[in-house]
């Protein structure tokens, strides 16, 4: 059992920023000619991390993941706060779908961890639905212990691997 350092959460979120989906470029509005050119200080570059409508912003500023305690699939207070932000973003940005990926640390068997990851992903899904997000926009998948982001065999790494990540992709229901 461990308490998660808040900084760890943030670092994990930032570290993942390179993996964001490419699809957002296809669907983004207002990415016409010159959108990026000449963007001065303080200008919002559509699609970039300082565009509040971008998946990159979702990932880095809203926070795309919640972490879980050992063997648990219930949300922490911090997790709920993150998901409140996610729900708000999804309410505003209706062009996007989300896939919630559930993960486990390397303790535990492959099969059990697959099931545990599914539980975690579903916990997030249900919370977002309870906040008004249509379940049709939310998919879940479990990777069990197959896709760790941290590779040490210590609690510091395990804590970051026990996660559910909300991955944003273009493809709204009403577009």
């Amino acid at each position: 059992m461990s308490i998660l350092p808040r900084a760890a959460l943030l670092i994990a979120a930032l570290a993942l920023s390179a993996c964001s989906t490419n699809d957002r470029f296809k669907n983004g509005s207002g990415t016409g000619a010159g959108a990026g050119a000449g963007a001065g200080a303080g200008a919002v570059v559509p699609g970039s991390a300082n565009d509040p409508r971008s998946p990159a912003y979702f990932q880095q500023s809203v926070g795309d993941r919640v972490l879980f305690l050992v063997d648990q699939s219930s949300l922490t207070d911090e997790g709920r706060r993150t998901l409140d932000g996610q729900a708000q973003w999804l309410m505003t940005n209706t062009d996007y779908m989300a896939t919630i990926e559930g993960h486990a640390d390397e303790q535990g068997t492959r099969e059990y961890n697959l099931a545990l990851g599914a539980r975690r992903a579903n916990t997030v899904r249900e919370y977002l639905v309870s906040k008004g997000i249509s379940s049709a926009r939310l998919k879940t998948i479990s990777y069990g212990k197959e896709r760790p982001i941290e590779i040490c065999s210590e609690e510091a790494c395990y804590a970051k691997n026990r996660r559910a990540v909300t991955v944003i992709a273009a493809g709204g229901l009403t577009s």
């Binding site: 068997t109 492959r110 099969e111 059990y112 539980r119 249900e126 197959e146």
Partner: protein
């Protein structure tokens, strides 16, 4: 990319064609009681087989080598080195000089001969002698097959020797399907591979474009069930070993399906499916594609395995609050818990003899492979390490193979085997990292 050369399936025929030597009754016949656990391995001499045609010379010594490795690899035998031999074996039919083998304490002697006929087929024959009794054990046997299948013929010889001396079925002429792994922990690539039980003749059955997990043989070894992410989320596939063709099983759409295993009739498949975050057990008739739900609980139910008679299923569930082992009728219904020790239990696998259940146990930060009787009694832990998991049984129920993963950022998976006595723990040779082994039945 799937460049699998289909194994030239050697049509191996065992012909009891050789006359036994004149045998007389002796007391204290050569015998290893392996249920007792062997302390002192039995000395065995396997001189190079006699090449009866010039083209068979190299193969004759290779076959003797594989026979020796099979026997010594059990931990029940030790090799009497050729350098100790007093008289060479130059003729398969000449009488055995027992005194010469007694003098170097070779308690068992295996002699053999190899010939290659005009069509390129290989014939292998052998005899087994109880040196101290001064008599042959059983009749000589002959196997024939293609040249490409020479290792199988060696394994057949070793299986017969093992079987005669221990009274147990053999396990050398068998294969292992597993997940071959490359790359670091945070970018691991996985593909299905198949090899002989001793690591020879590796072939890859899938590419590494998507995650593949936990392959399982059909009861005849002709098909493999496994879990793959190739459609995006975990689904169950069945693969024909000979053609390497595969198809997805028609589990309910949109739900994650995993942890499949064949029933003993090769038609029924039991598996886990997740719905709304909850994982339960189902069974499917592979021909009709019809599924039946076996459990209905808010807890996780996974890792099912049939009893050899197909009447029961052992599985893992956390309905008590932590993962434990349960047995229920194969059609579903009330389950009884069988694991009561400290720690968490998972991946139970029923032994082919029906008497034991192998499992993974996690306790105080360590992992173990263990066995217990089917009523949960007589639990014994056979291994201990940072991470051991996923036992699979040898065809004769004497040996367990499993995944061992080392600790830390550079952690790698590899295969190990251990006797059910807890002795003879050793790595299994694979090309690169390996996990999730499944042992085939004996080949025919």
């Amino acid at each position: 990319m799937r460049h699998v050369t289909q194994l030239a399936t050697a049509a191996l025929t065992a012909l009891a064609m050789l006359l036994p030597l004149g045998a007389t009754a002796q007391d204290g016949p050569l015998r290893i009681e392996i249920t007792e656990g062997v302390i002192e391995p039995l000395p065995v001499a396997v001189p190079n087989f006699v090449p009866e045609t010039p083209a068979a010379t190299e193969m004759a010594s290779q076959i003797a080598r594989v026979v020796t490795e099979d026997l010594v690899g059990t931990g029940l035998f030790r090799e009497v080195p050729a350098s100790a031999y007093i008289s060479p074996v130059t003729s398969f039919s000449a009488p055995v000089q027992y005194a010469d083998w007694k003098a170097i304490n070779a308690q068992a002697l295996v002699t053999g001969a190899v010939s290659k006929d005009a069509n390129g087929r290989i014939n292998v024959k052998f005899r087994l002698y109880d040196v101290f009794a001064g008599q042959e054990m059983g009749d000589g046997l002959q196997f024939s097959g293609t040249e490409a299948g020479w290792r199988r013929m060696a394994h057949k010889v070793a299986d017969a020797v093992y079987s005669r001396i221990t009274g147990e079925g053999g396990y050398f002429d068998s294969r292992v399907v597993y997940v071959a792994e490359t790359g670091p922990k945070d970018d691991r690539r996985k593909r299905l591979a198949i090899m002989d039980y001793d690591g020879a003749n590796t072939q890859y059955l899938t590419d590494s474009a998507s995650i593949v997990l936990a392959p399982r043989f059909s009861p005849t070894g002709d098909r493999v069930l496994y879990t793959s992410y190739e459609t995006g989320s975990p689904r169950i596939f069945v693969l024909d070993v000979a053609s390497v063709g595969r198809r997805e099983l028609p589990t309910a759409g949109g739900n994650m399906a995993f942890s499949p295993r064949f029933g003993p009739n090769g038609q029924q498949v039991v598996y886990s499916m997740e719905q709304g975050g909850n994982t339960d057990l189902y069974s499917m008739d592979v021909n009709s594609g019809q599924s039946t739900r076996l459990t209905q609980a808010p807890s996780i139910e996974t890792a099912p395995s049939f009893s050899p008679d197909g009447s029961q299923i052992v599985f893992e569930s956390d309905r008590s609050g932590s993962p434990q082992l349960y047995i229920m009728p194969a059609s579903g219904g009330e389950a009884r818990r069988i694991s009561f020790g400290q720690g968490r239990y998972g991946t139970p696998v029923w032994s082919p003899r029906g008497d034991l259940i192998a499992f993974t146990k996690q306790n105080k930060g360590r992992f173990h492979i263990g066995v217990m009787r089917t009523d949960g009694s007589e639990e014994r832990l056979l291994t201990a390490s940072f991470l051991d998991e996923g036992p699979t049984w040898s065809p004769n129920g004497r040996v367990i193979m499993f995944t061992r993963e080392t600790q830390g950022a550079q952690g790698q998976s590899s295969l190990y085997s251990v006797d059910i006595s807890g002795r003879n723990l050793k790595p299994v040779r694979t090309d690169g990292g390996a996990s999730d082994p499944a042992w085939s039945p004996l080949q025919r």
